[in-house]
């Protein structure tokens, strides 16, 4: 996932002229079209005449706001808590490390709705953490914005952890030795050597996590519910509109998500991307 910065730039130029198998081109083209057609569908099926009013409707704006706040918050949480976890998994030497990695990255493969139910049993009003938390502080997570953030973090953070861990693993740690031998304190080593070297992994992990959080549906609706203006994020609003027959609204909201995601993907390629 992390591109080596020391890779020779000339590698591969000699191969560019090589003939590519036509079958490969056909299959690749089919794969590309498979992704492009639905986008075309969204664009051609959009109610362009009513677009302005649909997008600026109270429900849409509120859902967008909630989505952005929740996804950015859970990305921030991933940075704060996920980075130390990734560090521990990459550099720590302790028993049960493999098990810990498996447990903390399980949500990547778990159906999100299952995650939502598990979250309810732990952090819900009757959950074994949630109940004492409620009694002690009065804080309840389900059916609140905080609950949305928890649900999104649960599903998205593993992407950050696993990407950053692989970045930390693939960097040459002896460069940190070199920095220390040159007089750099641990903090300086981290800021001037480690961080720049794992920057591509960090950027990729952040974007991946944010995108996963933005699109989160199953865990959110299970754990945080679907309260318009409180926990109804964009994906939930899209689903509700679609299932209640308001197809135009659903398409309009979907297009907003597509645009936001596209902007980020393009931004990402420019910043951390392949040159």
């Amino acid at each position: 996932m992390v591109s080596s910065r020391q890779a020779p730039k000339t590698a591969g130029t000699a191969r560019e002229k090589q003939r590519v198998n036509p079958l490969l081109i056909v299959l690749a083209a089919l794969a590309a079209l498979f992704f492009i057609f639905p986008l075309i569908g969204l664009i051609t099926g959009a109610p362009w005449g009513r677009m302005a009013s649909l997008i600026t409707s109270q429900t849409a704006l509120k859902a967008l706001e909630l989505s952005i706040i929740a996804s950015l918050s859970s990305t921030a949480l991933a940075l704060i808590f996920g980075f130390p976890l990734a560090w521990l998994l990459a550099r720590g030497q302790f028993r049960g490390k493999g098990l810990l990695r498996g447990l903390t990255t399980l949500p990547m493969v778990l159906p999100p709705v299952v995650g939502g139910i598990a979250l309810l049993l732990a952090y819900g009003r009757r959950g074994f953490i949630g109940e004492p938390l409620d009694k002690a502080t009065g804080i309840t997570l389900p059916f609140s914005l905080a609950g949305v953030i928890v649900a999104e973090s649960f599903v998205a953070m593993p992407f950050f952890v696993i990407t950053v861990e692989s970045g930390l693993r693939s960097m040459n740690r002896r460069l940190e030795d070199a920095a220390r031998s040159l007089g750099a304190r641990r903090r300086t080593v981290f800021i001037r050597v480690t961080l720049p070297l794992i920057w591509p992994a960090l950027a990729a992990g952040t974007v991946l996590t944010w995108a996963r959080a933005l699109g989160e549906f199953g865990a959110t609706i299970t754990f945080a519910g679907n309260l318009p203006g409180v926990t109804q994020t964009m994906p939930l609003a899209v689903y509700i509109s679609q299932s209640s027959g308001m197809t135009d609204e659903a398409i309009a909201l979907s297009l907003i998500l597509v645009v936001v995601s596209l902007v980020v993907m393009i931004f990402r390629r420019d910043r951390s991307g392949a040159g």
Partner: protein, 349 residues
């Protein structure tokens, strides 16, 4: 001045070596792979904690496990140039070289100026703004040298500084390095497995094998009177150990030599391959210092040919290429070797 007594135990190595390096002196650590050379450098920098012994630099104790003294690597006035350079790939040459100065608290502008000056001294002005990935191996090597030198360390450690270079530029870089080291007021140590580098660059050599020092002395002493098979092989001489009684030397493992000098007790004998004569038949009129053996290998060394003769004792002779044909050396038959007593140098073990 460095006073070091390094003791530590790694999985396959039990390191125990005590030595000193004076300020301005250049000491070469010579030894086979896995003998502990690079480990000694890592231990001196503090990247590898000692189990016992101590490291004292200019009167300051940097490490003494018994006294629980351990100065962190970043606080030691030591610079280490790594064998694979370990330049920071995300920084250009100036930033790489300025890094150590910045860590010492030198302001950015001054650090960059001093870095640029040092790069200029090493003829690297044109790559100052380039990143390591865009440099040749030789340029990377010199940037690494500049990075180690720029902080004016009290102890300069060079781990195989020339090993990764192409032969074509090695000579030039060696000259440059010798120049730099001769002006250095630090205690300088370089690790090498190349005798030529050690002889060309150092004032004194320390030979290390299996974690222990087997010989120390000037390059002339060490190469002229090697105490280990390793050094003898590197310099390409025959080294025989034995017991002397007057001019007679009973070689360990069999054989007897008549030497020009008398000695008593355990003795080492060095014989240059050029001093070993080879013939098909027993040399006439010579009884001593002549024996038979089978040719075990024939190597071409430049314009000369080395013949390894497996007799009692085994010995290597050097002959002109024409002799290969004349003596039919490659048919593997029996051969006679003979040595003039004057070609044998003996010294106590």
């Amino acid at each position: 001045m460095l006073e070091a007594d390094i003791r530590l135990r790694l999985s396959r190595l039990n390191l125990d070596a005590a030595f000193t390096v004076a300020a301005g002196e250049v000491v070469a650590l010579l030894g086979p792979n896995g003998s502990g050379k690079s480990t000694i450098l890592r231990a001196l920098t503090g990247l590898l904690p000692l189990a016992g012994g101590r490291v004292v630099l200019d009167g300051t104790v940097l490490e003494d496990p018994a006294e629980r003294v351990m100065v962190a690597p970043e606080k030691r006035p030591i610079a280490l140039m790594f064998q694979d350079y370990l330049l920071f790939p995300h920084m250009n040459a100036v930033e790489n070289v300025a890094f150590g100065l910045r860590c010492q608290g030198v302001d950015k502008k001054t650090a960059r100026e001093r870095a640029a000056t040092t790069l200029g001294r090493l003829e690297l002005g044109e790559v100052a703004e380039a990143k390591p990935g865009a440099m040749s191996g030789g340029q990377q090597q010199r940037v690494a040298m500049a990075r180690a030198l720029v902080t004016d360390p009290k102890l300069l450690l060079l781990d195989e500084p020339l090993a990764a270079l192409d032969v074509s530029i090695k000579t030039n870089v060696r000259r440059l390095l010798r120049d730099v080291l001769s002006k250095s007021s630090a205690a300088n140590m370089l690790v090498t497995h190349d005798v030529l580098d050690a002889v060309a660059l150092s004032d004194r050599m320390i030979v290390i094998e299996n974690g222990g020092i087997v010989q120390t002395g000037t390059p002339a002493e060490v190469t002229g009177r090697p105490r280990s098979r390793y050094v003898a092989d590197l310099t390409g001489v025959n080294l025989l150990a034995g017991t002397a009684r007057g001019a007679l030397l009973d070689v360990d493992g069999g054989g007897r030599l008549v030497c020009a000098e008398s000695a008593t007790g355990p003795t080492l004998a060095v014989i240059a391959p050029a001093g070993v004569a080879v013939s098909r038949h027993q040399p006439e009129g010579r009884r001593e210092n002549a024996w038979q053996g089978k040719v075990s290998a024939v190597d071409l060394m430049g314009a000369r040919v080395r013949v390894h003769v497996d007799g009692t004792p085994a010995i290597t002779a050097e002959v002109p290429p024409a002799a290969v044909d004349e003596l039919k050396l490659d048919d593997g038959g029996e051969l006679w070797v003979s040595i003039e007593p004057a070609a044998i140098t003996t010294y106590p073990q």
